[in-house]
């Protein structure tokens, strides 16, 4: 498997602020690489450095095995990108916008091909409408079409679901999966919304305050031995008392008002469930809660904010 992106000791300072600090990571061919961090963690700055919009203060970036600074044009020919929300020429139609960016990408195209591209992102019938009449979701889809128009090998998406409604978010997730699985693209996608990355990413990098916190596959980051299960029953106090007097006592966690929390290996969950039924606990919900989001909050400073908020 080839390295598509190789970032070494990347750093960026804006006067007294260090936006990115000694960041190193590698994206392999075929990866859907989730780039996670809170707002202000340095995700957009990193992406802008990958796209040569910002000059790094130090460090080195290679894309497709080429030095980004010296092979900028050669590299960008094979990269499609959306940075935050795609702002387009509002006074032009969807088709005109797409044609303009297709020309800029340096490809030869037919009207039919562009129309097909617009159809792929669900803009059929609106091709000749001015972009100023489009919703944010439609602009986002047009942005996707524009980033794909030259059939790039690498797609860089910076917060692609920003401003989208739930249907738009689901559509974006499906599109990322389609691009990765069917079209064999390498995708680098940043987000602060973890659940959307969790479902699509093959590898994940979490950054906080410009620094790498952890990098690994979703499976590696999802540690089944630390699964938190949240139980809600008709009488949580009675449920808690029963658990305190049982073999499950060792797994109990600091409690919340409206549920009972336990931390254990994922394999033990069926046994616990069975035990609750046998002891006549009327369970309303039984939710294993160890997701990437919990992990993310645990490893980033977000945890402090969440705790401060919930306390």
């Amino acid at each position: 498997m080839h390295d598509i992106i190789k970032v070494m000791s990347l750093g960026k300072r804006f006067r007294d602020i260090t936006a990115v600090d000694e960041l190193s990571f590698t994206v392999n061919e075929g990866d859907v690489y989730g780039f996670l961090g809170q707002n202000g963690a340095g995700k957009s700055t990193t992406i802008r450095m990958l796209l040569t919009l910002i000059k790094p203060t130090h460090g080195h970036i290679e894309i497709f095995g080429l030095n980004l600074q010296s092979h900028r044009i050669e590299i960008l020919k094979q990269v499609g990108a959306i940075i935050e929300k795609p702002d387009l020429y509002k006074y032009l139609s969807a088709y005109e916008n797409l044609r303009l960016f297709a020309k800029l990408s340096g490809i030869k195209f037919l009207q039919k091909q562009l129309m097909r591209q617009l159809e792929m992102v669900g803009l059929q019938g609106r091709e000749h409408d001015k972009v100023k009449t489009f919703s944010q979701g439609m602009k986002q889809r047009l942005g996707i079409a524009m980033s794909l128009v030259h059939d790039p090998k690498l797609i860089i998406l910076d917060e692609p679901t920003n401003g989208l409604d739930p249907q738009g978010i689901a559509d974006m997730r499906n599109l990322i999966l389609h691009l990765s699985r069917e079209m064999k693209k390498t995708i680098f996608v940043s987000s602060h919304l973890l659940n959307e990355i969790e479902h699509v990413a093959t590898r994940v990098l979490i950054i906080d305050k410009g620094k790498k916190v952890i990098e690994g596959s979703s499976e590696e980051l999802f540690d089944p031995s630390n699964t938190i299960v949240e139980i809600d029953s008709t009488n949580n106090f009675e449920c808690l008392q029963l658990l305190q007097q049982s073999q499950w006592q060792q797994y109990l966690q600091p409690q919340r008002r409206h549920s009972v929390l336990l931390k254990m290996n994922r394999n033990q969950l069926p046994q616990l469930n069975k035990w609750l039924v046998e002891n006549n606990v009327a369970v309303i919900s039984f939710q294993p809660r160890y997701t990437l989001e919990d992990f993310f909050l645990q490893v980033t400073s977000g945890k402090q904010y969440v705790e401060a908020f919930t306390n």
């Binding site: 802008r48 796209l51 040569t52 919009l53 910002i54 000059k55 900028r72 044009i73 050669e74 960008l76 020919k77 990269v79 990108a81 940075i83 935050e84 929300k85 795609p86 702002d87 387009l88 020429y89 509002k90 006074y91 032009l92 005109e96 303009l100 960016f101 020309k103 800029l104 990408s105 340096g106 942005g143 524009m146």
Partner: protein
Amino acid sequence: MWKLLQIELYKIFNRPRTYIAFGAITALIAVIQLGLKADGEAYVDFIMSGLKDTFDFEGKILNGYLVCYVILQLLLVHVPLLISLIAADIISGEANMGTLRLLLTKPVSKTSFMLAKFFAASIYTFVLLLWIAVLALALSIFLFGTDDLIIQKTSYVVQITENDVFWRYVGAFCFAFLAMLTVTAVGFFLSIFAENSIGPIVATMSIIIVFTILSTMTIPVFQKIQPYLFTTHMVSWKEFFDEKVNDQNEVVKGSIQDPQKIIDSALILVLHIVILVFAGIFVFRKKDVLS
């Protein structure tokens, strides 16, 4: 580069804002022409009142050439303001719309991108000036006919024969294009530093207004800096309408009184353009795109 230029021109001429300047120019010229058509003789009598006692004037003083001269004198001061609407918006407008970052993720060199932007703004300036020429010269000739051009300068009167006028207008418009291109370069340079177009447009207009005032004030301290202000040289198009006089005090037909002044002014304007464009490219290549 050619492809980039085509794209830039496509964007400029598809924007409604582009046509504000054309609309404003058309309205202004139409108002002046209508006014002169309705009451032009009274206007000519007024400006020639001091001369009519000494000289006999024959033929049509109020002709297309004079109308065009009046229009240019009134209008060329204001055209920079209209040019800055496009030139000062050319980069900052893209930053404001968020399209700048999208454009720069495409495989185009930043230098070519900037040159295409400047050339596109220059073409816009040229088309605008061509439109002024069509309305101010061609339409005035159609409405008022032609005759000798009589212009009253500060201390003398210039009479240019009918068949010696047209080429002077061609020269004057070419020079005016160079002057307006300097304004384009100022707007283009300032537009790099902002992320919305209001700032650079106002800054360009302010520079033009302040420099024009400084260029015209006859206060000794300002007169020292006047040769270095581009606005001082922007009005040198008027030199095309001054004829040389020989030792016998006769007008040399087809001559210009001080061609060197035109050449010097043109060179100073070209120098301004080159410095501003290359400084703009240099700054832009170093700049982080944060919009």
